[in-house]
Symmetry: C2
Subunit: 388 residues, 2 copies
């Protein structure tokens, strides 16, 4: 059986988890052959723990060694695009950790490259796309079961992080080191899912708070108001200060509504006809019945409730396997790399809207303006070099 | 036993309901003595149905007759302030139907009058303030049980109205006749409640849609993003096109969270200490446990669930009785008239934000600008006189 020779760049929480999945045989079509970490202490631990793997301290050496077919970038966010680009340039396939990058300008260069170089595969580690719950919801929407979208609303405040989490390293929750807060670190999952399921919005206005209930420079509190191509609206709320976090996604369409609670319980209500038609077919007698409380609207729809959860590790190992099978056998990618920019742009636009006080039109998104505004904040912070 | 001599102006759906409540003895401290309606057909029906009441066709005659101590204005919204003002000017107490008016300028004059004339009572028919469910929630918030507000979020889309509802009269859902859509007609309940419970916001930005899924000139789809004095944010979503309507209110505070579903089921989670303190007392070991899934956050709060509903008619008859007892015995008013402006201003600001594309600062709300923008729309409509 063919196996993809895989290298992990960055042996932190994510990198070590992926190594474990592969070593435990959860990723059939992959061989873990190399691990890279720039930390010297980690290197010697790695040499001891993995006597049969190549251990690198420089990711460029690993990529140009000829020993890996593909790599994953489990490193700080800012580094994702430059490592991915170096690998692709050297004919090595890339599974990019989320987010694809911190600002759109650095991600665009990657997308431009893969648009004209079809011999290398560029994919994103959007593990939640491999959650059967969200796959089912995407299919319901895609199949038109609830009709064109009228509104989306996601309150996803289950990302509680106490202060010591932020204090554990100097780059965390800084503009220069991490490039943002909950939008860059925790919510990229949902920023991807909502666009994957309901489409990419056209405009966004936001009210975010920097250091609202944490002692950090970046955002720990976010509310974004989106608009879609067809005039539908969306609300996206996230934060890291809600110990009693809510996870509730509601999608209303012309023909029905989906409500997902705790990323687990799904209620789908399907109207017997589009509300556009039901509405047109009503008459004054119906209105009277409605006001007398005599209209049984329950006759007009069906209700389905189901629960769905993915087992620990399945989401990530499944993305790894899909990535390998795409390269080996041409299986469709769950998360093509080019789609990584959507989450980055939405996060950037949410930042930029609050910084400028303006609604942001996504198709005209000004990559340079965003980078400029980001650099202003990095400069004020006076801890890290400016980005370009 | 003393009774307040009460007159009803406008014998439509609301007026006739209040007449029924009083006649059936649900309002102990009131005597219904007069009814006014400008419609001739209704007048003769009234004469027949109520042989012992005075029936008027001109509200001014009723107010100046000396036969009524107090009146209620169950007439089209635009008329509330002028009728209320005429009554107060003539020493007759006023229970104003909601909304207090259509635009702040006309409501301000009323508030100015009552600020300097304490011998007449001016109150609002905010019947939901008499709903034991919202009274309990207000008390929980007021008593500081969930601490200072961090966020509010109300999705109240149970106001489904089919097209024939809008087509039943020429003034409905027009700028000149009604002055707006769901914000003016259906949502004033919640626009009052959210401010009554969580406080008056300082700023609002909105994205509303006019005639989104109904053939009307005014708004049938609303999303508003609010900000409070202390930097907390709020989201308010309402519409009339959701047959599968949602009613879900969430209030997060420093010390807990309240979730109300379907205006019926309340879940209150109370943190054992303020999240500000819990957060500060965490250490790196706690963060590790959190990430290992070994932190039992359930130890940090209690959960109370209760349901509460008010019986049909109780809300309205209770407000009528409270109004009478205030005048007769000095009982505290549930809804002082001066508070009516809050809902009007918030509705106006939500309109104005979408019309101008700007965030609106409520303390600087420009009453003249709003009226001017409203008149532009009345002029385009070319069906009704301009307002001033």
């Amino acid at each position: 059986m063919k196996k993809l020779r895989f290298g992990i760049i960055g042996y932190g929480a994510q990198g070590s988890m992926y190594a474990r999945f592969i070593e435990q045989g959860m990723v059939e079509s992959m061989d873990l052959v190399a691990i890279c970490d720039s930390d010297e202490v980690k290197q010697s631990q790695l040499v001891e723990s993995f006597p049969n793997k190549k251990i690198y301290n420089d990711y460029k050496d690993m990529i140009t060694s000829g020993e890996v077919d593909a790599i994953i970038t489990t490193v700080p966010h800012y580094l994702h695009p430059e490592m991915a680009m170096f690998a692709l340039n050297n004919g090595v396939h890339v599974l990019n950790e989320k987010p694809a990058g911190v600002y759109t300008k650095q991600v665009k260069a990657l997308n431009d490259f893969v648009a004209t170089n079809s011999d290398v595969t560029y994919a994103m580690m959007f593990n939640q796309r491999n959650n059967p719950l969200y796959q089912k919801i995407k299919k319901i929407v895609e199949d038109g079961e609830i009709g064109p979208i009228r509104r989306t609303n996601w309150i996803i405040t289950t990302w509680w992080r106490p202060q010591p989490y932020y204090d554990q390293s100097a780059w965390r929750a800084t503009w220069g080191g991490e490039g943002g807060g909950v939008l860059v670190n925790q919510a990229p999952h949902q920023l991807d899912l909502i666009q994957w399921i309901a489409g990419v919005p056209t405009k966004v206005y936001s009210k975010i708070k920097h250091g609202f209930r944490r002692d950090i420079a970046v955002e720990d509190e976010v509310t974004a108001l989106m608009e879609y191509e067809n005039g539908a609206t969306g609300v996206f709320v996230t934060c890291t200060h809600d110990l009693l976090g809510t996870d509730r996604l509601e999608i209303l369409g012309d023909k029905g509504k989906i409500v997902v609670e705790d990323s687990k319980t799904v209620t789908v209500k399907r109207l017997k006809e589009s509300e556009n038609i039901l509405n047109k077919n009503m008459d004054m007698e119906d209105v009277k019945r409605l006001f007398m409380g005599q209209m049984n609207t329950k006759d007009l729809y069906s209700t389905e409730v189901f629960t769905e959860e993915s087992a620990w590790g399945e989401q990530h190992s499944g993305v790894l396997e899909n990535f390998a099978r795409h390269i080996l056998y041409g299986e469709d990618l769950l998360a093509p790399g080019a789609e990584g920019i959507n989450g980055v742009r939405l996060a950037n636009a949410i930042h930029l809207s609050t910084w400028t006080g303006e609604e942001i039109v996504l198709k005209d998104f000004d990559d340079d303006l965003y980078l400029n505004e980001l650099n202003k904040r990095i400069k004020e912070e006076a801890k890290f070099d400016l980005r370009r």
